[in-house]
């Protein structure tokens, strides 16, 4: 049974890497995941090793590491549910397996891969870090093995218990949204941690404060076992074993329950009587229809929300919070101009509009009965994007001005950002029509881009940004004198002229894109259908 399960797992891994739509992205993902995970594991092991002899430091580090590993094992499969065939008991439901065999197959699935190897490598650092003799060395070794068992059983017990929810459309949407949130929060955590470290007083005290209570959690007990007197160490290991056994029982139960219970799919009703979300001014006709649809999608399809958020917020977070974290003091006033980065980038999150719509694009093509309909499609989409992005851009500009005290730059920043945004919308229209690519209906919000297309799309986006910047260069004639003389009139002029300039250039680009969309709609659809 174990051999069969092992071969099944390997076959699934091979299958996942086989050529097909998105295989390049998967391969690259696996290679990078493997390299990154491997490096992190080796680094963790190395840190533990060099911490040896620094008082309580090695044990504290080990406690944190063990707890983090178990937490990671529990959370990650929930976020990436569906990417691993051996995670979902329902996928194995048709195989003639008994309850224990079920756990064996799923367990082998969990034990073969990058994550388990990395876990063992990282955790093995416990040996050099805390072992003082053969007895404590043996205790450390057993603790590492128990940790792996704990990781696997806790992980699978949780994912099996939640499998019903995770299989449903709503659950998957939630997963995508959570993944995005986690990724975004990393962007926030990183500078905050840096600020904390820089402000001093952190370091070992904080580490001890954190590790103290965690020593008494099951993984913490395992990590601290080698440092305890032998009877207490054995007791800790036995407690760990007991937890593993309990988790196994829970796992088996949740597997049984998930196989017996019928799937319940959510059918929440929408009480909307109009197509457009309330409170959003919507033009009549086709423009309004497309705008309303896009806005509805923004909040109903997590993929879009993620695209919009990462496109708009990440650059600002990275640009604005980075220096704040590095210098630790009030950032320079000129940092207000970081909002221009958002103007530059956020429009381009709509650069694959029809790819995001996917094959549903046919509804736009087959209902275009007026020569101007193609342009209305693009205007509607741009309006929907602007309804969200422009207020966000204004808010962030004001926020940055408040943080930096650079109020004198606010007007020129907003003018320049809106100019870039206006041009960017036109660029996004052109890219949407000329270089659409398939967005696979994957669960992972960051798994966008078809085979090899992600790279092309990335290059095109970079090109579009360059064009935006070049087109907006003439506005320097207003910006530079303002910066040199400090006279507010220049900024106000830029605030007034910038958006008009960007809007006009964007409109010209949109017109060209619309001509192409009207003529080549079927070709765009064919491209989206062939690969989808």
């Amino acid at each position: 049974m174990i051999g069969t399960a092992f071969r099944l797992r390997l076959a699934l891994l091979r299958g996942a890497l086989r050529a097909g739509p998105g295989s390049t992205a998967r391969r690259v993902g696996l290679v990078f995941g493997g390299l990154f995970g491997g490096a992190a594991a080796v680094l963790a092991c190395f840190l533990l090793t060099v911490a040896r002899g620094h008082g309580r430091l090695p044990e504290d580090l080990a406690v944190l590491l063990f707890t983090a590993l178990v937490a990671g094992w529990v959370v990650l499969p929930i976020l990436t549910f569906g990417s691993d065939d051996l995670l979902d008991p329902a996928r194995l439901a048709l195989l003639p397996l008994t309850g224990t065999e079920f756990l064996l197959v799923m367990g082998v699935g969990a034990l073969v891969g990058v994550a388990p190897i990395g876990t063992v490598v990282a955790a093995l650092g416990l040996l050099p870090a805390t072992a003082t003799g053969p007895a404590s060395g043996l205790v450390a070794l057993v603790a590492v093995l128990l940790l792996l068992a704990m990781c696997v059983s806790a992980s699978r017990a949780c994912s099996s218990a939640l499998s019903g929810l995770l299989r449903s459309r709503r659950g998957r949407d939630l997963g995508v949204a959570l993944t995005a949130l986690v990724a975004l929060s990393f962007q926030l955590i990183n500078p905050l941690v840096q600020v904390a470290v820089r402000s001093g007083g952190a370091g070992e005290d904080a580490l001890q404060g954190l590790a103290g209570p965690l020593r008494w959690t099951p993984p913490g007990l395992l990590a601290s076992a080698p440092g305890r007197p032998l009877p207490a160490a054995i007791g800790s290991l036995l407690l760990g074993l007991l937890v593993v056994v309990l988790l196994l029982v829970l796992w088996q139960r949740s597997v049984r329950r998930s196989l017996e219970r019928a799937e319940v799919s959510g059918t929440r009703r929408r009480r909307s009587t109009t197509l457009a979300p309330r409170g959003v001014p919507a033009p009549a006709g086709r423009i309004g229809a497309v705008q309303a649809k896009d806005l509805r999608y923004l909040f109903r399809e997590p993929k879009r929300l993620v695209t919009a958020l990462t496109g708009a917020l990440l650059p600002v977070l990275a640009v604005a919070l980075g220096p704040l974290a590095l210098t630790g003091s009030r950032p320079p006033a000129g940092l207000v101009f970081a909002a221009c980065g958002m103007g530059l980038l956020s429009a381009l999150s709509g650069a694959n509009r029809f790819g995001l719509d996917g094959t549903a694009t046919w509804m736009l093509i087959s209902s275009a009965t007026d020569a101007r309909d193609a342009r209305r499609d693009l205007i509607g989409g741009d309006l929907a994007a602007a309804v969200v992005a422009v207020p966000m851009l204004l808010t962030i500009s004001v926020l940055l001005a408040a943080i930096t005290g650079g109020w004198q730059h606010l007007a020129s920043t907003v003018g320049l950002a809106l100019a870039l945004y206006g041009v960017g919308l036109g660029m996004a229209d052109l890219l949407s029509v000329h270089a659409p690519y398939v967005v696979p209906p994957s669960q992972n919000a960051f798994g966008g881009g078809g085979a090899g297309q992600g790279c092309t799309a990335g290059l095109l986006t970079m090109g579009a940004m360059l064009v935006e910047v070049v087109i907006c260069l003439p506005l320097l004639a207003l910006l530079v004198p303002g910066l040199v003389t400090g006279a507010p009139l220049w900024g106000i002029a830029l605030l007034l002229i910038g958006p008009v300039y960007g809007g006009l250039i964007g409109a010209v680009a949109r017109r060209a894109a619309a001509r192409r969309w009207a003529e080549r709609g079927p070709e765009v659809l064919e491209l989206l259908t062939a690969a989808g």
Binding site: L275, A360, I365, S367, A368, A371, P522
Partner: protein
């Protein structure tokens, strides 16, 4: 069906006028695969027309080319007398489409989807409201109208897609596999709606591989295989007293295995 166009001009006009759909030499190739190799077809006005054929016969590709969703490599398609690829905007106004394998905007509710479709076509809001309500009620989607289409069953999807295709009251309906995976009750509802549509002069062209159904509801039928039309004509004329399935299998050339050869072990204890 495969009548020759006469030399006399007024006669030609009269003939063309009586046809809702005319296909001439439609060809489509995907890479090395010849999906459709020269399809000629005429569909009378007010006719319930079935396009039948095995999987991979080229039905979907043909329908996509007639409906202006897929550009043919060669050939022409006229719908309601309008050349689909020369004057696509005008032609699209005359037709309603239910494609196969293409998604809807599924993150809208059924009602929102119909509103969306109506407004895309520039229909006045109150008219869309009224028609959407009626269509949802007739198709039994009244209570599911506020549910997202992504949560619909296959049958419900087909029904809401049909409603979207009917909303602007087209002259010709093109439906690709409208009865696939649809439960008998829904299928009966769809049939009734389509019958009413043809009864008032509308034309329905639909593809299917359920011979029973085609035999029962179609006036005319065309059998496709390997990207060509093998036979076309009135259902009764084509089957000549035999079940349509028999004629179909004979035309398509799929030998019916009796099940005597091989599989001896099957069913033996």
């Amino acid at each position: 069906m495969e009548q020759q166009v006469g030399p006399d001009q007024p006669e030609v006009d009269a003939y063309e006028h009586s046809m809702a759909v005319q296909l001439r030499g439609l060809v489509k190739r995907f890479g090395s695969v010849q999906a459709v190799s020269g399809v000629d077809l005429d569909v009378r006005r007010g006719c319930f027309f079935g396009l039948v054929g095995p999987n991979g016969a080229g039905k979907t590709t043909t329908l996509a080319m007639v409906t202006g969703l897929l550009r043919p490599d060669a050939g022409a398609a006229r719908v309601d007398g309008i050349d689909v690829w020369a004057r696509p905007l005008l032609a699209r106004e005359r037709m309603g489409v239910l494609p196969e394998g293409l998604r809807l905007f599924e993150r809208l509710s059924g009602r929102e989807l119909l509103h969306f479709t109506g407004r895309l076509r520039g229909m006045p809001t109150d008219e869309v409201d009224e028609r959407a309500g009626e269509l949802l009620a007739v198709l039994g989607l009244d209570s599911a109208g506020d549910q997202l289409v992504v949560d619909y069953s296959t049958g419900m999807r087909k029904k809401v897609a049909l409603a979207a295709a009917l909303l602007h009251n087209p002259a010709v309906l093109f439906l690709d596999e409208p009865f696939e995976a649809v439960d008998p009750v829904s299928a009966r509802t769809i049939r009734a709606v389509l019958r009413a549509f043809t009864g008032r002069g509308g034309t329905v062209v639909f593809s299917s591989h359920v011979m029973d159904l085609v035999e029962r509801i179609c006036d005319d039928v065309a059998v496709m295989a390997g990207g060509r039309v093998l036979a076309a004509g009135g259902v009764d004329e084509l089957r000549a007293g035999r079940p349509l399935e028999e004629v179909f299998v004979e035309l398509v050339g799929g030998g019916v295995t009796s099940g005597d050869r091989g599989l001896d072990w099957l069913g033996t204890p």
